[in-house]
Symmetry: C2
C-alpha cells in the first residue's frame, strides 16, 4: 500500500457502502405507508429521497468508471418498501461490481457529472456520498417526529 494515500480505493468503497447500509436501515425503519407519504416542512417522502440516491448512484458509478455520463436517472419511486429495497440492493451490487474497474487516475479528471456538475471526479464521488448523508439526516428527523428511534449513525 502507498503510505502516502489518505484513503485507499477499497476503503473508500467501504465508506460509501457503509453509508448505503445505514440508509437501507433507515428505509427499513419507516412504517410501510409513512415511507411514501410522510414528510416534514413540505419536503419529499423518504422513499422519494432514497429513489433520488438510486437515480444518482446508478448512472453515477457508470460515469465515474467509464467517463460516459448519462443524465441523472428518472426512474419513478416504486410503490412498496420491498420493491424499493430491491432497487437499493441492485444498486449496491452494481457499485460493487463496477468499483474494481474505476481507475484512480480518473478521480482527478474534471468532467460534467450526470451532464450537470462540472467538477473533478473525486469531488463528484464525495458529492454522491454527501448528498446521501444529507438526505438521510432528513429521514432521521422524519423518524423522530414519528416517534421512531432511528438506527445509530455510527453503525454501518
Amino acid at each position: 500500500m502507498n503510505t502516502k494515500e489518505i484513503v485507499t480505493p477499497s476503503q473508500l468503497l467501504e465508506l460509501w457502502q457503509g453509508h448505503r447500509r445505514l440508509t437501507r436501515k433507515v428505509i427499513e425503519a419507516f412504517p410501510e405507508e409513512k415511507l411514501f407519504t410522510y414528510s416534514v416542512g413540505g419536503m419529499r417522502s423518504f422513499a422519494d429521497l432514497a429513489m433520488e440516491m438510486i437515480n444518482v448512484a446508478t448512472p453515477g458509478i457508470k460515469g465515474l468508471v467509464s467517463g460516459k455520463w448519462d443524465n441523472i436517472g428518472s426512474e419513478k419511486t416504486p410503490p412498496t418498501k420491498k420493491e424499493l429495497l430491491a432497487k437499493w440492493d441492485e444498486t449496491t451490487s452494481l457499485i460493487n461490481q463496477s468499483w474494481p474497474q474505476l481507475k484512480i487516475e480518473r478521480l482527478q479528471q474534471v468532467e460534467k457529472a450526470l451532464n450537470m456538475y462540472e467538477a473533478p471526479n473525486y469531488w463528484t464521488l464525495f458529492y454522491f456520498i454527501d448528498n446521501e448523508v444529507h438526505h438521510r439526516g432528513q429521514g432521521y428527523v422524519y423518524l423522530r417526529s414519528l416517534g421512531i428511534e432511528p438506527p445509530p449513525f455510527w453503525e454501518r
Copy 2:
C-alpha cells in the same frame, strides 16, 4: 502530484471547509431565537447541533495532527448567533492552521479518536465531516418547516 491519489490533502481540507462554509450559512439562515429554541421531533436545536460540530472539530483536528486525543469538547452553546458564528470562525482558523502539520501517514493509523471511537484516522476524519453533513441536513428540515428556504446544498 501523485496521480494515484484519490484526493490530495489540500483538496480534502477544501472539501471539509466547503462543508463548513455551507453549515455557517445554515446557522446564519435561522432567525436568532429559532436557532436556539426550534427543533422537530424533540431533537436538539440547530445551535446545539452546530456546537457539537465545534466540540468535535476542535479536539478532532488536534488529535488527528498530534495523535494526542482529548475528549470531545464540553463547551456550552453560546447564547447568541453572533457568538456562535465567532466560535465557528475560530474553529475554521484552527483547522486551517493545523492542517499543514497533518502527516498523511497518520491517516492510516488506528487510534481511539476523542477517546471514544477506535478507527483508522482517515475514517475518523470522514466521520467528522459526515456527522456535520448529517446534522446540517436536519437543520434543513428545521428551516423548511419554519418556511425558510435553506442555502443550496451544492454551493460551498
